[in-house]
Symmetry: D2
Subunit: 452 residues, 4 copies
């Protein structure tokens, strides 16, 4: 940690900042915010914890952005572990390293006091909601103030426990769901925007369309994550027909394939707490029970990092792209002139498809995981990359992020665990034979490098 | 910890015990129980956590008591903190004691691995229920195997967080409540037994009787704690009229007093997680809103430790009792002959009442807290000891535990916090002036001692 | 109608009775009861119908039995059709018999005014409940005052329309049903008494026991009729094993047979409105959908009229019994000495069984319908008499009403309509071949008569 | 009835029409539609009524408009009263006119058989919904085929009984109501169109806006009628501020006035069954209980017949308008040039207001009731005409139907009954003194006539 910077900031809190945080919201016995926090952690909190927690949260809500920043730095500095106690406990352990109670004590005293503070704030009615919102504020500050990551870790740790999958409830969202929830679905959809209530109705009110969400009892009526499902007769190659205003509806029993075409996280304050994996698997269970005719569970997914990778790769001296694409082809891609040019499209289709298969199956991040974030999620869950679809998403966004390519990840319950383990162990990406073949068209980077 | 004993036990686990725990419940890919636990904690658990957690819990349920004991000792020994990692982290801290990340790391590595294990077991459907039951098993073993207290601490720590008051839902239980919940109320009532459905109906189906319970969303249909309330016109002095089969019902709006006459914890596996304090206060809030005519919130409570204290005290050389009671009186109390003897009762009433007032306000445990457990709960919550009632509970149990005395604790929201703080600071017990006067009749122990 | 009796009674109403009914229940603008009824029918009722209807019903509830009788006679006399209007309309019809509007007018004016009165009373909150209770009062009076049957017809006519099967809702009653409904089930069970909550739980809380009820939205929480079902592996021959406290429970999916072993009507005020037929058929539908393994739908029913018929028959000169039973056998039946006498039981079994088969299939009432009321219900619904069970009900009641015999009626959806029609047309009773054979042992009455 | 026309039509049914109606929808044992109806009325219907009723309704749904017309004429002709039975019963009555059973019998046989047919059709699941839709079809045909009014009378009679206020349930519709109901609210609003979901939200999702609806249990999720309420601080004079997108919301407790600004009937098939009166009064009750601060219950209503009356009146020789308005003024009204002309508006305001007050309080229809339909509804319910509002509705529709005038009807529970009775007796319209004064400016028609 950059202590000098922090020291400075701390000063600003101790000197001016205290005043900043001296917010009282008008109750007779109001204390300044940080004193209230101390009171909540003290014995006094035991008798009137609910009331004090409520006061802290009400108080927090009235803060300006600047004051909130001050509050979080106070959490960082004033509500960490008690250093003296840590030292004492460390010494005891040193002298008696095998005594279990020494480890236990060390664990206890190294816990930042703000963890207990957050637990006690949760006593207030609506406390969980307020704490999730508080963390959303904190996340906004993290990029500018990375020091606060330590505070965020405590929120994340507690939220992981509180939002454990065992406490989540899956609900089927349909046209008989209260409007107050539905308007949130409209607002939260992050992948393929929902264009108003008529569009929503097409996604939840028809027999071959489903939407499932996870809820937590403490965040009533506010979904954590939801997934949209189309029931079809085939694995789809493009998103437009799925979202079309006019299309032939099928009955649920005619469907053989469940397509997960959109997954949206709803609560910014729960970033890093993972639900999607569990949701997809529970939806698969639910659909299997309800519709025995379903054979195939598959996604229709974007490739958000393809264009970016393509451009970065192109800039390399020993780019794998140069081996595949002529300078002309690269130029038409650069200036977008290939779009609408039948000849060019025909020529580019196998090449871009292969490059995408290569990108998804072979390109890794520094930790050896698949580079593309959506691929990382599904491959990490144990899915298999099944197919790369040419011009699957011709929307401006689709063209911009992946030259219009979309892919299908297949969830085959028999292989999920094996795929997950293989990827975790070696970074290897499970892929269908056709995708593997397409990727092989692209020379391996090592070959490229050794050749160059 | 008695390591030699533990070492021995450990052997029994490593050598024979492994076999004991090698329980597979018939799924194709079943592993022995402890291997399943390791799998759940490993990377593999990320892909199929729900399924493995389910397997562990199903598996656990099939264990014999002996096997369960083996399982808990395995949790103690094999799923504690990684000692090497602890040593490393302790060293880092030693060299750089001011580096926050060192404390953080030390906190992380000192966390027993079983905490994460418990969190992941909670992924299974019904996992919370199963874990609460598992802890009930563990508590049964604690008296014989106090070593297991370390395992219990981890359950307790997580349950404190999961059963935070912010996640509890209060419900009014009445005659329209499902029978499946009501039968649990009958079974769980611990203070004044409910004698079948007709008795239950008298306690929840009439206008001047209420029952409120806390529920947790993960333990559907199973209350955590409940409190029974009588709406009356006066502070009651005895329990029999409250529970009477025949009595004059009043309308809710005629009531001026809400009497908490029974509080029962329902889940043995949640021992030590405190709900009663919050429940009473939320019921007070609820009743205030609904019935503005209510002025007084009061308990009608047993004094479970009075007889026991009386007998212990009596055995002392410098007993405070000797100063008050003649040898004859003591004798009639000992042999029970005072009961039904009008003269004796009349004579004993002021003396026993004063002794009880003394017992509740002045006798402390080693930590300086009120000796009587029920008094400790209510005084600790900030209530005031309002009145001692002669022959308030003439049931055999009432006579046995407190010579029939009952007391009222008064919840006055204006003084709750102050009372709580005073008690926390000095052990002083808030009491009405009449109770204080009654207690003063008994010579202070110091006076007794200095005199003797 | 005995007009002189009626005239007299009418006098008692007009002269003293008015006073009797002059009940005002303390609202400022209270009118006597009958004036309120007139007000409700008048224009005034349009503006404040709800309030007046409420007043009439409140008022009615305060009446003594004597006053209620007066009220019903007032309904009979004062709230019938307007005779002058009837005469006029009849004349118009006479002059123009083909004019449809004349028939329509005649229909309108012949409707008793009390029908509209009852409809308007239903405006009050809780009106339907009050009217059903009112009719229960009326039914009590009918045996003594058969004149009131005309008033009852109007209740019956309206209730038939209001409690049309289209307005009924079937609900599965189980252990999660509110206690307030369950206590009614206990109270209403009319065939095999439910002995408290534990017995109830055995009938609704186990996997192989079901209870279904019809509800009407205006009688919230109060069932109209319910049927109890046992899921078994065979057609049962006796009731005791079905109701046994200790027995081997089977899973629902193991069952092949659904046994309707008890049907109870709950609302005395709805006598004559038929629900049982619809309920049984809807339960069959429901069970078929849920449990495809069920093959057989059958009742286990009492034969409530057998003993009575036996004794009546015996008293005849040309009794069919004389041909079958020796004087000795008759004697042991008369004095009950056959019970417990193995030899006698063995001898009587085929004879009594045959007589019962004869009684159920051949003995008819004056309208040519099956004599036994339970048989009439099931055979009328299209069921088939499947089996006569020796000593199926050895309870005192069972022995008294049918010498312990019970029977099974089989509901085979393929034949229901045909069976119903045949019975409606000719009175013929559908029966299995074995029952038919058993009945044939008994000489036909005609044979008996021609022989005698 | 035009019998020759009818005779002809009947032929077309008997000869060709039979074929028309010979619709079978593919079940094995399907009968032609009318035969199914006869089967339903026959004994056969008792055993399998539910199934046959379902078949009839399914069958009906497949009919063309032409076939439906044929079906209704068949109901008219073939399912009326049995004429022979009517004649017999009429003769019996003639010979014994005082015998009650004769009247009863006459009532029974004069009931058209289609009434029982409709009752039995209601046995089918969803029967009530189907019958309400069937009547909507019938109402469409009535203007062209007034003969069918006789059939409609039977639907109306039964619906009046089935949709009795006692069977209706009022619900508060808000933003947590299922979208499937809300979209119906949007569709059904008939007075001030709801412009999509955002507009709906402004009408139901804010603290000072309410919407209440009546539901019938057999028409699940489909409202019968609803009323929209604004909570305000004053009696409003115009609709635009009520519906404005941007406006200052007040808290419910600040409101003193509840404004009913829109009432919409939802089910065309229930025309003539009156709910509005009951709904308004129940909403008043509900709001009084919830918000004791409310003092005034008032409508903001259109005057749909004013312009029409004005033009008709103007065409009369002795028009009351001529006495008030100059020829020029009349001309500017005719050509619309007064709008936007401040001088003209200022001049016309008192005159048009007075004419409107006159129109509403004095102009009657042939039955002596208030001419304006909205006035007739509210005055008939016992409300008082409180105020005429100049330019209260400046929408094109508002200008067209009433020159922009709107009015307030006041519901004062103390006077409702009296107002209703007075109007029922004499046609007199309850009005505030200011409205009465405004009306008096217009010379009475009699004065006009006597003067002319």
């Amino acid at each position: 940690m950059n202590t000098s910077f922090f020291g400075e900031l701390l000063n600003s809190i101790t000197e001016q900042g205290r005043a900043l945080l001296d917010v009282r919201i008008g109750r007779k016995d109001d204390l300044p915010l940080l004193d209230l926090c101390e009171a909540l952690l003290s014995g006094r909190g035991e008798a009137s914890g609910v009331a004090i927690a409520e006061q802290v949260l009400d108080n927090y809500r009235t803060l300006s952005v600047e004051q909130k920043q001050g509050f979080f730095f106070a959490l960082l500095e004033n509500f960490g572990a008690n250093l003296d106690a840590v030292r004492d406990a460390a010494k005891s352990l040193e002298s008696e390293p095998d005594e279990p109670s020494n480890i236990r004590r060390l664990h206890a005293v190294t816990e930042p006091r703000r963890q207990e503070l957050i637990r006690r704030l949760n006593l207030a009615p609506g406390g969980t909601r307020a704490l999730v919102d508080m963390r959303a504020d904190l996340l906004d500050l993290l990029s500018v103030h990375p020091d606060l990551r330590d505070v965020d870790r405590d929120f994340e740790h507690l939220f992981s426990s509180w939002f454990n999958r065992g406490f989540l409830v899956m609900k089927h969202i349909d046209w008989s769901t209260p409007a107050s929830i539905l308007e949130k679905i409209i607002r939260y959809e992050a992948v393929h925007e929902i264009d108003g209530w008529d569009d929503l109705r097409r996604r939840i009110g028809l027999e071959d369309r489903r939407l499932y969400a996870f809820f937590h009892p403490a965040l009533v009526d506010d979904p954590l994550i939801f997934v949209e499902v189309a029931l079809t007769r085939d694995i789809p190659a493009a998103i437009a027909p799925i979202l079309a205003e006019e299309r032939a509806e099928i009955t649920a029993s005619e469907a053989t394939t469940a397509v997960f075409y959109s997954i949206s996280n709803c609560q910014r304050g729960l970033r890093g707490i993972s639900f999607g994996n569990f949701l997809i698997k529970q939806v698969v269970e639910e659909l299997r029970r309800e519709l025995p005719g379903l054979r195939t569970y598959v996604t229709l997914s974007p490739v958000p990092g393809f264009t970016k990778w393509f451009k970065t790769e192109l800039a390399l001296d020993d780019s794998v792209i140069d081996r595949l694409l002529s300078q002309d082809a690269v130029e038409t891609i650069r200036d977008g002139s290939w779009r609408g040019d039948d000849e060019a499209e025909k020529q580019l289709q196998p090449l871009l498809t292969s490059l995408c298969a290569h990108y998804l199956t072979r390109e890794k991040d520094r930790k050896g995981r698949t580079l593309d974030p959506v691929a990382r999620f599904h491959i990490g869950n144990g899915a298999r990359l099944e197919r790369v679809n040419w011009l699957g998403d011709q929307s401006p966004n689709g063209m911009a992020q992946s030259y219009g390519l979309m892919v299908n990840y297949l969830y085959d319950l028999r292989y999920i665990e094996k795929n997950h383990e293989t990827h975790a162990a070696s970074g290897a990406v499970a892929a269908s034979s056709s995708v593997t073949k397409q990727a092989r068209v692209v020379p391996d980077r090592k070959q490229v490098q050794s050749a160059s």
